[in-house]
């Protein structure tokens, strides 16, 4: 499998990193910490799954953080102020965010515009709309919320696998299956390989573009609901910069930003690595939060440089043998 080596390296980095952390702080190697890691990064895992599809298809989606912010505000207001039953509010926001993504995909395809700038406009739009709804944090007191946050599967060793972590894992598995086993997934790869080629092969490029951005926004909306479970509040400034975290997770997971190559499982590992760095810094206590950013930047650099090397080796047939060894 061509896409395997970067994912393997990501996995090795995660395992080695986790082992190093565990040597220094033995308490890290417990199901409690792992459970918290999954819970704390549930929304990031969901949104990064959608981002993986977009990036493999050769695009990028900068609007996801704003969509999460908008979702939390919308859900909070719908439940607390407008008296909607939570489930209705969830369905409404999912439909709304899917439509939003579809609209962005349509603009990208119909007007042949760069995804970067279209989703940038989407980012402004969604954040602006959430400011319009409310600029203050709206607490959510609906009973569903306490039920969901109380619910957890007990893991051996006292760890809790919370409801939102389970949602994330389900979406993750769904994403893996969708990308690996369906025609849709194959088309995503084809699109990333080259739009013209994909079109000649019979892929409906326009419909695919719309569907891919729809999926990304839909998952961002889901992540927003999960985020509102996580914080029990809706706030228009929540999840600022999450698009960068999720792009970083996707890249660290071995997905090529040029498209055509990558995997959802790699993205999940990328999310876990970022979470691990954060956990390490929390355990250490003396390190300041900015080291998270610097460490993420260094990891990003390492992975991109590595990919660049792999790509360069793949282009040189003579050097391929050397590449296989490394």
């Amino acid at each position: 499998m061509k896409g395997l080596p970067p994912v393997l390296i990501t996995a090795i980095v995660l395992v080695v990193g986790f082992a190093l952390c565990a040597v220094q702080f033995p308490n890290i190697a417990s199901t409690r910490v792992v459970g918290n890691l999954l819970t704390d990064n549930a929304f990031l895992g969901i949104v990064a799954t959608g981002m993986t599809f977009v990036i493999i298809s050769g695009g990028i989606d900068l609007s996801v953080g704003s969509v999460i912010g908008f979702t939390t505000v919308f859900v909070a207001l719908a439940i607390e102020r407008w008296g909607m039953p939570p489930l209705v509010a969830f369905v409404a926001i999912l439909v709304l965010s899917a439509a939003f993504g579809a609209a962005m995909g349509a603009v990208i395809h119909v007007f042949d515009l760069p995804p970067f700038i279209v989703t940038l406009a989407g980012m402004f739009l969604a954040r602006g709309a959430s400011f319009l709804l409310s600029t203050e944090s709206v607490p959510i007191t609906a009973p569903v919320y306490s039920t969901v946050s109380d619910f957890a599967l007990r893991m051996p060793g006292g760890g809790r696998l919370s409801a939102i972590a389970i949602i994330m894992l389900v979406i993750l598995i769904g994403g893996i299956l969708l990308l690996r086993l369906t025609r849709f997934g194959a088309n995503v790869y084809a699109l990333g390989g080259g739009r013209a080629t994909a079109s000649l092969m019979g892929v409906a490029v326009g419909r695919m573009t719309i569907k891919i951005y729809m999926l990304s926004s839909l998952l961002a909306g889901t992540a927003g609901i999960v985020f509102s479970f996580y914080t029990s509040a809706g706030y228009s400034l929540s999840a600022v910069g999450v698009e960068l975290d999720s792009i970083a997770a996707v890249v660290i997971g071995g997905t090529l930003l040029t498209g055509g190559q990558g995997s959802v499982i790699g993205t999940f590992l990328g999310v876990l690595i970022q979470g691990m760095i954060q956990t390490y810094i929390n355990f250490d206590g003396t390190l300041s939060s900015w080291w998270t950013k610097i460490a993420t930047g260094i990891l990003l650099f390492a992975f991109i440089a590595l990919q660049q090397g792999l790509v360069a080796l793949a282009r040189r047939p003579a050097a391929k043998r050397a590449g296989a060894i490394s």
């Binding site: 700038i117 402004f124 930003l257």
Partner: protein, 330 residues
């Protein structure tokens, strides 16, 4: 100057005039200027003054985008250089402070340029690294605090005036003239456009594309450093968390509004700066109109979309639809 203003500049100038007129409607004293303590005051001056950081960023950004690149790290570079300037300001003389801050910007630009030109990374990814790590580095420099200073020399850079004109405006204008003279006074601008138009063909034609790409990222870093110093001098302190936050997006927006395609090629410095002024005039207008500033992002989004659609390669198709409609009418 004719070289700096391509024919398509008309749309941007008209847009600015329309927005200025709208500002005049919401605030009747918009065009009033008065001289006080040897410095001009008024909404127009305020627009220029507040627009300076984005205008400076867009000067570097437009060159980067002309080579088919993008620099996401300028906001973080602003934060780094602002932090350096603020922490040195009270113990060192102004030339040392400026040299350190601009040097840091140069190094940041060199790093980005190295990744793109030498390692061949995609510009979005390459500059994403510094965008993520840069803010961490800035916080490392300020140790997470907001560093304040009182050095009158540095404060003058942000709030002083030369012949009544605020210093930031003078600096931005100077940089515009300097950049224009360098890239349009020589073949450099043409070579940059060639690199963005088709890097491979330019390389074969003998253009040193690597050197071009490296140079534009370095210049972008220096412009960002200057913007960072001015932003720090303006508030007499450096806030590593918020200095230059999301300004990279405004700068890209300014360049796009200025008509430079994200796919590289032809660029215009003057129109990019005009784009920055359009954004700032909009911001100020919304503030003056008494609408909550929350509308700002919405208006910005609508403007981006409008500009994008106008520049869309499919516009010919749109024109075709309009022509068909016109034909259908009678």
């Amino acid at each position: 100057m004719t070289m700096l203003l391509p024919r398509r500049g008309l749309a941007q100038i008209l847009a600015l005039i329309v927005i200025l007129a709208a500002d005049r409607v919401v605030s009747p004293q918009f065009f009033d200027l008065r001289l006080q303590d040897g410095r001009l005051f008024g909404s127009l001056i305020d627009v220029l003054n507040r627009g300076t950081p984005v205008a400076l960023l867009s000067l570097g950004m437009v060159l980067v985008i002309a080579t088919r690149g993008i620099d996401l790290s300028v906001g973080a570079v602003m934060a780094i250089c602002g932090a350096i300037a603020a922490s040195l300001a009270d113990t060192h003389s102004l030339p040392v402070v400026l040299a350190a801050a601009l040097g840091a910007g140069l190094v940041c630009g060199l790093w980005n340029g190295f990744l793109v030109a030498v390692l061949g990374m995609q510009p979005i990814v390459a500059t994403l690294i510094l965008m993520v790590a840069g803010r961490g580095i800035a916080q490392l420099i300020t140790e997470g605090r907001i560093v304040t200073f009182t050095s009158p020399d540095l404060v003058w850079l942000g709030t002083g005036a030369i012949l009544g004109v605020p210093v930031p405006i003078v600096i931005a204008l100077g940089m515009l003239i300097l950049t224009g003279a360098v890239v349009r006074g020589s073949a450099l601008g043409l070579l940059i456009e060639a690199t963005g138009g088709n890097a491979r063909a330019s390389e074969l034609a003998g253009v040193g594309t690597r050197a071009m790409i490296l140079a534009v990222y370095v210049w972008c870093g220096v412009c960002a450093a200057l913007a960072g110093v001015i932003a720090a001098a303006d508030i007499m302190g450096a806030d590593a968390n918020n200095a230059g936050l999301w300004l990279e997006l405004d700068a890209i927006l300014a360049v796009v509004i200025g008509g430079t395609s994200l796919f590289g090629g032809r660029f215009s410095l003057v129109l990019a700066v005009l784009g920055a002024l359009i954004i700032q005039t909009m911001n100020t207008g919304i503030l003056l109109s008494g609408y909550p500033p929350e509308f700002n992002l919405l208006v910005k989004a609508v403007v981006v979309l409008a500009v994008l659609l106008l520049q869309s390669p499919k516009l010919s198709g749109f024109a075709g639809i309009m022509a068909r409609l016109r034909r259908a009418k009678p």
